[in-house]
């Protein structure tokens, strides 16, 4: 990335840059005013905004094509089924998964991790087996494993985080052992934005005989996901953090593992035959999609994937990297600001505290400036304890954010400093 323009003579032809003004027109909510100010939406790590195309896909389906999927012989049902399964194929391509049937729609990342922890975890773990997590996990990738550990007698162990905000891979040598059955880790830290070396960890986990579960919630909007290159066994994420609707997400899992797993929830759509004595289950993915799925949201998810893959992602990457660098530089110029994990390889997320002002108070003052950030423990209390803070302020950037919005963040912090002086 170019950080200095003075080293070079002005270029005759400008290199291509991401047309952020044009992208912003796709997201009507960005024109909203909040507390009398232009909205600066910097809470994309919690939930990103949806482009018009996503909302229209949901609405078009609901207004013209709604019917249940995998049920009826009538035309609308068949049409809905075809479109629903087409999104499964889009997702397969997005993840570079080998087979579309390895993609299971869920209600989101939390539901997906619960599915894997319950079905795969409970059917494979024995008392004394070990589940290896990391200190930077979201509660969604901790609590389901605790429930599974309680049910199976398995033991949870934890890869620590270093001062620099990265996983301490040196600790893997003694943490990975013959009892390790599952390694569950986040692809990208929701607090620090740190990108974890999933491939390296997966190789070592596999060598120890463990399966690898990856929480991709914070990764899919920013990174190119290739589940085969990552070498993991399960990959889980949500649509609403990648410009899609809430209420839908997915689990990708290796076919051989999914085939051997028992159902997680029972109901319609996941069976082959039912008697009161015995039920046989449908093959994957249907086995894991009991009940009527969130069909309209899946249609919206399909539009989000189309939107994301339709962009020049190299330009989006450069734009987000510029926002991250600019925000980090601007924040570090303010006295009393502490930025966490700034040295790590990371996506466009910056987490910080301002000396003497609680993150919640900063969140309120920033909101009065129209700046939406997350100010909390980010559902990552173990990491907060590691960092020695009750919480942080997190600005998380999406493709539609601008340097002007970073400036609004900084102005809000200067104002907070005045209020609390």
């Amino acid at each position: 990335m170019t950080t200095s323009l003075t080293d070079h003579a002005p270029a005759r032809t400008q290199p291509p840059v991401f047309d952020v003004a044009r992208a912003r027109r796709d997201f009507p909510v960005l024109q909203e005013r909040i507390n009398g100010r232009a909205l600066a939406y910097l809470d994309n790590g919690a939930s990103s905004q949806r482009p018009r195309a996503v909302v229209e896909a949901e609405a078009d389906y609901a207004l013209r094509e709604h019917a249940n999927v995998h049920r009826g012989v009538h035309t609308l049902s068949q049409r809905a089924t075809t479109r629903y399964d087409a999104v499964r194929e889009s997702l397969r391509a997005f993840l570079n998964a080998p087979v579309a049937d390895e993609v299971i729609f869920t209600a989101g990342t939390t539901a997906g991790l619960n599915l894997v922890a319950s079905s795969y975890g409970r059917s494979t773990l024995q008392p004394g087996d070990e589940i290896l997590l990391t200190e930077m996990e979201h509660h969604s990738n901790i609590v389901p494993w605790q429930l599974t550990a309680q049910a199976t007698g398995a033991v949870i162990r934890v890869i620590p985080v270093t001062e620099a905000g990265i996983l301490d891979l040196g600790a893997l040598d003694h943490l990975l052992n013959t009892r390790t059955r599952i390694v569950a880790l986040t692809h990208v830290s929701n607090v620090l934005g740190t990108v974890n070396p999933v491939r390296r960890i997966a190789d070592r986990a596999h060598a120890a005989g463990a399966a690898v579960v990856v929480d991709g919630a914070q990764a899919t909007a920013h990174l190119r996901i290739d589940v085969q290159a990552l070498g993991c066994d399960f990959y889980v994420a949500s649509a609403h953090k990648m410009y899609g609707p809430t209420g839908v997400g997915f689990v990708w899992g290796r076919q051989a593992l999914l085939d051997a797993m028992p159902p997680w929830q029972g109901g319609g759509g996941m069976i082959q035959s039912v008697t009161f004595e015995e039920t046989t289950y449908a093959p994957v993915p249907d086995r894991f999609e009991a009940g009527t799925p969130p069909i309209a949201q899946v249609m919206g998810f399909g539009a989000a994937l189309e939107y994301l893959t339709g962009l020049d992602r190299a330009l989006v990457d450069a734009h987000e990297a510029d926002l991250l660098l600019y925000a980090t530089e601007q924040l570090l110029r303010l006295p009393g600001v502490r930025v966490f994990g700034a040295t790590a390889e990371r996506v466009s997320v910056v987490s910080f505290v301002l000396d003497g002002i609680h993150p919640h108070d900063l969140g309120t003052v920033l909101d009065l400036h129209g700046v939406a950030v997350r100010a909390s423990h980010h559902c990552a209390q173990p990491l907060m304890r590691r960092l020695g803070v009750p919480g942080t302020v997190r600005a998380s950037f999406a493709l539609y954010n601008t340097r002007a919005e970073v400036d609004a963040l900084v102005e809000g912090l200067v104002e907070a400093r005045k209020v609390f002086s």
């Binding site: 507390n35 002002i357 609680h358 993150p359 919640h360 108070d361 309120t364 003052v365 009065l368 909390s376 423990h377 209390q381 907060m384 009750p390 919480g391 104002e415 907070a416 209020v419 609390f420």
Partner: protein, 148 residues
């Protein structure tokens, strides 16, 4: 005056910076924790309850400016008051911060600085955390003097 100053009145900022009764209370006979898992605000309150009168009160812990100032101002308001008076105060305070009524006669005037909280629904719990903890301390079993 900015909107932020309307919420963060100078009395609130003062009590945030220099909380009153911020210590462990020797010879306390009631103690309770106030914890808000949403934001991590965490305070411990100590009471000396003599019959139905609060003869002394103190607190320690950490939290945002609203929760800390509310805890501090609460301790100054309830010292020397009866349980019944404190309950009326809490009711009045709760109505005020949830927008169900203005500060009324049951509320010591200085607590009216939290009236602005009603405009910030996400912060109501911060303001009322200490009052809930105080109530659970009063309702709790009598304890031997607690020391931290």
């Amino acid at each position: 005056m900015s909107e932020a100053n309307e919420l963060y009145q100078s009395l609130i900022l003062d009590h945030n910076r220099s909380p009153r009764n911020f210590r462990v209370l020797e010879h306390a006979n009631r103690c309770a924790e106030g914890y808000n898992p949403l934001c991590g605000d965490q305070f411990t309150f100590w009471l000396k309850l003599d019959g139905d009168r609060i003869t002394d009160v103190s607190f320690q812990g950490s939290g945002c400016a609203i929760s800390k100032a509310s805890a501090s101002l609460m301790t100054t308001a309830v010292k020397g008051k009866t349980v019944e008076e404190v309950e009326r105060m809490f009711g009045s305070f709760h109505r005020m911060v949830t927008g169900q009524g203005g500060p009324d006669a049951d509320l010591p005037p200085k607590l009216a600085v939290f009236a602005g909280v009603r405009e910030f629904p996400a912060r109501v719990k911060c303001a009322s955390l200490s009052w809930h903890a105080l109530k659970s301390a009063i309702d709790g079993e009598a304890k031997e003097p607690v020391s931290a």
